[in-house]
């Protein structure tokens, strides 16, 4: 039964080969529809809450993914703030703003003419020069000139670009006026102008550390793009546009989108190089083992065909090729040849006994069938278990590798026999088989293996003891494992992106962004009683002494409204205040109507040459009805003005109005409006809430983990300062100047009332760059967004910041209860990382149990089943122990390795235990069997171990760290599990031989 497939292949080799070829062609036909996805955000499924929220935040605050371009000048004494560099930055900014699609679809920059600036048309072609790169771009559908969406609009969101030439600045100008313009409204012509720009930038809390480095050596442009996958092309565009810049102006490009996108593009190159290289290496290795090209074509076919099937299925099913799935080929190839290597190995060793191809194959497959089936099944189980991780690309990866392994097994059972029947002559095998034997004797492998056999038999307890010691050490290592990942660190330290990242984070407050958002928990709470209390309290404070009657009247109205409201059950604050306002106006009419009228009349007088007499004369000369209204007040005023007889003109008018104001400022109506502004203010127009955010920002600054945080409060404080700024008079002494400076500095703060906050915010809403305030606060001022900059994109550091914020929120509850949520790419990485670790752990445990059960079934024994798990347990423990001990971060590739280890190292134990049990039964003695085990069976295992580890070595040459990691650890895994299978297993068998070989099993199946 189990030989049915093989029998068929032996009888109808041509059919089999044809059928396989047709199937492979069908799979290969799927390749042209390949789509690539290099967005690590897709590590989270699209409906993941944090991802949905991330997009909500981006939408709500109009935030985009940024390509960060740093310009660093370390040589000029003024850093980047010199005329030449600033002009270059201005030109680059304009070039980016005026990017458009040319007629041929290639990018074009059409600069409108501007004073002192070059105008004209610049045609660009970003196609790489190297033919290899061009070819790759073509194969992978990557168009380097793709900088436009389907409608032909630039993918650079011009109006959101952050650059000195297009960000707002608010500053003092001549005659105590306020200037609202761009930070670099005009590129400087003199060094003094350049210095002024530097001073302006440093004076704005939103810019220093973000747009301009504190040391003034660097400026960053933040180029917002419509979608992350364009970032590689935008980065290229910037490189092209700055190619002719002098060396002293270094242009560095970074940001998570660029890192991620660049990784994607380089990953394609990796795929196109590593996988074929692995193929070549495996080919050479097999050639060394078997010394015959026509023979080893068979396992190579198995490898290539299973890769083509797996990738074809993936593409055919419509999955995108992601960072994970790009590794399918390289994972699959060495695993796929394993069975074929076993078959060929045995075939050679046994051919001389039969002298007939078909007979030999029947015998070989006959006793290899079960171990091969089980090794394949366990490998499949290991990879398929990844389907239970919550990370879609990992699921896709696991399932497709599992599929590829199944295909490889099927091909080994059918294609290999068919191929041998059809393509290899008996004569040649006879020839080769003999040579093959000699070759074995000649290699250093055999004596080494024999030595290993002797050691594990004689010194079994020592081997086991050493293993236990190692396991304890590894356990300690595992306890020190730190889970961490950072997409920028996927590049080798010498890569442009890593270099840019390092340099820019040294100069700036951080190129990694996260968004911390606050929203009120219950936006519709009306807190009427609380509000009434506040109004009453303020009312008594302000008017209690002077106007007890007015206070009583307004309080009565408040009570009346309260009763009404309870009746209606409504909570319309504005309606209430309107009723109060009307009542208050009536009170005002009683106590100050005359003063208001008088003040108005004075206001309209012509101040030119105004004297006390003329004032009295003009006011008395008004219509009798009007004049009668303020007769008493006028008398009081004139008496008050009598003190300063010499006043006239404007000064007299000012004084007269001041006297009126001393009465009119007691307006109940004004008070009601003030209270309305105060009570109905949304949370983030309330000074207490804004100060709370300010406090959190101070705390974060002192905490040291956050490079910088920016909020609407920073913008508010800066604007309040500039609005309230009073320049000291030119003749002021040093002390006076100091006094002025101190008084001005005090205004660098959140204003004291909601109305004042509201009025300053209105100024910010109408800045030159419209709506830039709304990146930090929603238009209704009910939610705020803190832009957090981190110098490191390590998840570990992001997690620490999250913990820090949590601490603060716990120890300092907000005046109004707030809902806190995080977003931003740096934070998203933390979330999927966390999911991955937990997911990998549970998938590892799950597949461990599955494999254990499979082993117990295979060996029909609990004990043997457990024994089979020993090498992989030892391997996984040691590998992760090493990772912990050397301080390597547990990142995505490392996590995936666990399932690979599980699938591969159990293979060795299956082969070993199977043969060991068979031999022990044949020879009747474990000592004898053990000696035999270290001949042919050990050789086959060793050959496989070498094939797999060498097959992965091309990965070591990769410029991308995750590939390197996989390559390195696979070699290590192979070495460790090879040792564990060939040393620990025989030692354990030796120690436990009385129990394990107790019953001479009668089954002939095994």
């Amino acid at each position: 039964m189990k030989l049915a497939l093989t029998e068929f292949s032996l009888k109808r080799p041509l059919w089999v080969i044809l059928a396989v070829l047709i199937a492979v062609v069908l799979f290969a036909l799927q390749f042209p529809q390949v789509k690539f996805d290099n967005d690590p955000e897709n590590m989270l499924s699209a409906d993941e809450p944090v991802r949905i929220f991330h997009h909500e935040v981006k939408e709500k605050y109009a935030l985009y993914d940024f390509v960060i371009v740093g310009i660093v000048n370390e040589q000029h004494p003024s850093g980047v703030f010199n005329v030449a560099t600033l002009n270059r930055i201005d030109t680059l900014t304009r070039q980016l703003l005026f990017l458009q699609r040319g007629e041929t679809g290639k990018p074009e920059i059409v600069l409108p003419p501007q004073a002192g600036q070059p105008s004209g048309r610049l045609k660009l072609d970003l196609t790489p020069d190297s033919i290899w790169q061009k070819l790759l771009g073509h194969v992978f559908n990557h168009n380097p000139n793709q900088l436009f969406d389907d409608d032909g609009r630039s993918v650079i969101i011009g109006h959101e670009l952050i650059a000195p030439s297009v960000v707002d600045n608010i500053k003092q100008a001549e005659f105590g006026s306020l200037k609202l313009e761009y930070l670099m409204e005009h590129p400087p012509q003199t060094e003094a102008q350049a210095q002024q720009i530097a001073a302006d930038a440093m004076g704005n809390p939103l810019y220093h550390g973000t747009l301009v480095s504190e040391d003034q050596r660097a400026i960053c442009l933040y180029i917002p793009i419509t979608a992350k996958p364009y970032s590689y092309n935008v980065a290229n565009l910037v490189r092209t546009l700055t190619a002719d810049w002098p060396e002293e102006d270094r242009v560095l490009i970074t940001g998570l989108p660029v890192a991620e996108d660049t990784f994607g593009v380089e990953m394609l190159i990796q795929m196109a190089t590593s996988a074929p290289m692995a193929g070549v290496v495996i080919f050479l290795l097999l050639l060394m083992f078997f010394r015959n090209v026509s023979l080893i074509v068979a396992p190579m076919m198995v490898a290539v065909f299973s890769v083509v099937s797996a990738m074809g299925l993936l593409i055919g099913l419509g999955y995108d090729v992601h960072i994970m799935s790009s590794m399918i080929a390289i994972f699959l190839m060495p695993i796929a040849v394993a069975d074929a290597v076993h078959i060929l190995s045995e075939f050679f060793d046994s051919y001389h006994r039969f002298g007939n191809k078909a007979e030999t194959i029947r015998c070989v497959i006959g006793h290899l069938f079960q171990p091969m089936l089980y090794t394949s099944l366990t490998t499949i189980a290991g990879f398929a278990s990844l389907a239970f991780t919550p990370i879609p690309p990992v699921q896709v990866f696991g399932l497709h590798v599992a599929f590829g392994v199944a295909v490889a097994w099927l091909l080994s059972m059918t294609l290999i026999p068919a191929y041998i029947m059809l393509m290899v002559s008996e004569q040649k095998i006879t020839q080769l088989s003999g040579r093959h034997e000699d070759h074995h004797l000649a290699t250093p492998m055999s004596p080494l293996l024999a030595l290993m056999g002797r050691i594990s038999f004689r010194y079994s307890n020592i081997v086991v003891f050493i293993t236990l010691v190692l396991l304890v050490v590894a356990g300690y290592g595992i306890s020190r494992i730190s889970v961490n990942d950072n997409p920028v660190k996927w590049f080798t330290p010498s890569h442009d992106i890593r270099v840019a990242d390092a340099v820019l984070n040294e100069h700036f407050a951080g190129t990694y962004t996260a968004y911390l958002t606050f929203a009120e928990v219950s936006p519709d709470a009306c807190n009427r009683e609380e509000q009434r209390q506040l109004v009453r309290q303020r009312l008594r404070q302000r008017f209690g002494g002077q106007f007890p009657d007015g206070v009583a009247r307004l309080e009565a109205k408040i009570e009346q409204l309260k009763v009404q409201q309870q009746h209606v059950g409504g909570c319309d604050v504005h309606q209430c205040f309107h009723s109060l306002y009307i009542e208050a106006q009536q009170i005002d009419t009683q106590i100050m109507a005359g003063w208001n009228l008088l003040a108005d009349e004075i206001n309209y007088l012509d101040p030119d040459g105004l004297t006390r007499e003329r004032l009295q004369h003009e006011l008395a000369g008004l219509e009798a009805e009007v004049a009668a209204e303020f007769q008493i007040e006028l008398q009081i005023l004139l008496e008050a003005l009598a003190e300063g007889e010499d006043l006239n003109g404007e000064a007299l008018m000012d004084q007269a109005l001041l006297v009126c104001d001393s009465y009119t400022h007691n307006s109940f109506a004004g008070f009601v409006l003030e209270m309305e502004a105060e009570v109905s203010a949304p949370p983030f127009k309330q000074p207490r809430m804004l100060r709370y955010v300010e406090g959190l920002q101070d705390y974060l600054r002192q905490g040291g983990l956050v490079g910088k945080s920016s909020s609407a409060v920073d913008a508010l404080k800066k604007a309040t300062y500039e609005l309230s700024y009073v320049a000291p008079p030119a003749e002021a002494s040093r002390e006076e100047q100091l006094e002025f400076a101190q008084r001005n500095q005090k205004q660098f703060a959140v204003p004291d009332t909601a109305a004042a906050v509201g009025q300053v915010f209105v100024q910010l809403e109408g800045m030159k760059k419209k709506d830039s305030l709304f990146h930090l606060v929603t238009r209704d001022y009910r939610e705020v967004n803190l832009w957090i900059q981190l110098k490191s994109g390590d998840n570990r550091d992001m997690e620490a910041v999250v913990a820090q914020v949590d601490d603060y929120l716990h120890s300092h509850p907000a005046p109004i209860e707030l809902k806190t949520r995080w977003a931003g790419l740096t934070y998203l990485n933390v979330v999927w990382q966390e999911k991955m670790v937990n997911g990998m752990l549970s998938s590892l445990l799950g597949s461990f149990v599955v494999v254990l059960v499979m082993m117990m079934l295979l060996f029909r024994s609990v004990l043997w089943g457990v024994l089979a798990m020993v090498p992989l347990t030892v391997t996984i423990t040691l590998i992760y122990g090493i990772i912990g001990l050397v301080g390597k971060d547990y990142d995505m590739p490392v996590a995936v390795l666990s399932s690979l280890t599980l699938g591969l190292s159990v293979d060795f134990s299956i082969h070993f235990l199977q043969r060991a049990r068979e031999l022990e039964r044949q020879l009747g003695s474990w000592a004898e069997a053990c000696r035999k085990m270290f001949q042919e069976p050990a050789r086959a295992i060793t050959r496989n171990a070498i094939t797999i580890s060498v097959g992965f070595t091309p990965l070591l040459l990769a410029p991308l760290v995750p590939y390197k990691t996989v390559g390195f650890f696979l070699a290590t895994i192979m070495a460790v599990s090879w040792l564990a299978s060939l040393m620990v297993l025989p030692s354990l068998l030796t120690l436990m031989r009385r129990f394990v070989f107790r019953r001479p099993a009668p089954e002939d199946e095994i």
Binding site: F175, L180, A755
Partner: protein, 261 residues
């Protein structure tokens, strides 16, 4: 008879020809009259404006203010803007002196901070209090700044293309304005950016004749890039109300004139 008749016909034809040439205005003339109609009606005027700024996400901000305007010599004008709502900006005021031959003068009064501040001349094509209208939409863009060309003249609308003389100073490469041939009010202006994309539209949605002056009573500005729309509804419109020129001085920032209360 035929000769006489023919003569008559020729005279009529000549007269017609003359009259059409007399009425065929040049683009410059249309723009001058449009400027006059939309910004200079009467010798002064007043209106209360309810401004609704609606963001793409549906959020609405409403502002209410009264605007006083006084025509001065040589096309100069003075504007006084007094805010009434929302409560937090109550009594906030702006004073603008529009000067034809030099930069405008601007002052700002923030009552809650007891603060009067002069605003230095700057780009007039910036948002008016955070809305989609620009300062230039409120006070008018000088016809001198653009080159005007008549695109078409149909169904009572002049379509006029305006190309800035100094393209570096503005964010548009050109704009096309549709001027009503009867009232000379600009009914719609389409702004195109430097890559030729339409990105901004200003429209007069409703026109009424008040005291004999055709007046836009509902106007709308649409920012096609951000999806934000601002609607201005004018009420209490009055012309020729004999405004005291002293209202347009700094003194009236602190104590607003009766005309706006």
């Amino acid at each position: 008879m035929n000769y006489k008749h023919l003569k008559k016909m020729i005279i009529v034809a000549v007269l017609l020809l003359l009259s059409t040439t007399a009425y065929a205005l040049t683009a410059d003339e249309v723009i001058t009259r449009a400027n006059q109609a939309s910004y200079y009606a009467g010798k002064d005027g007043r209106a209360t404006i309810k401004m609704t700024i609606k963001a793409k996400n549906g959020n609405e901000r409403v502002r209410e203010f009264t605007l006083l305007r006084l025509n001065a010599k040589n096309g100069d004008q003075k504007f006084y803007t007094y805010f009434k709502a929302p409560a937090d900006v109550y009594k906030m005021a702006y004073l603008v002196w529009k000067n034809i031959d030099r930069d405008d003068d601007r002052w700002l009064w923030l009552p809650a901070l007891n603060l009067k501040k002069r605003i230095a001349p700057g780009d007039k094509r910036t948002s008016f209090v955070g809305s989609d209208f620009l300062y230039e939409d409120v006070s008018g863009r000088s016809p001198e700044e653009d080159v005007h060309a008549m695109l078409s003249e149909e169904v009572g609308l002049y379509q006029i293309e305006n190309i800035p003389k100094d393209p570096g100073s503005v964010e548009f490469s050109r704009y096309v304005v549709a001027v009503d041939a009867a009232t000379f009010l600009p009914m719609r202006a389409d702004y195109y950016d430097h890559s030729g994309q339409l990105y901004r539209q200003v429209e007069a949605l409703q026109v009424e004749t008040i005291q004999g002056f055709p007046t836009v009573t509902v106007a709308q500005a649409h920012d096609l890039v951000t999806g934000s729309v601002t609607r201005n509804e004018f009420s209490n419109i009055q012309y020729n109300i004999d405004l005291n020129p002293r209202i347009f001085t700094e003194r009236f920032l602190r104590r607003p004139p009766r005309e706006v209360k």
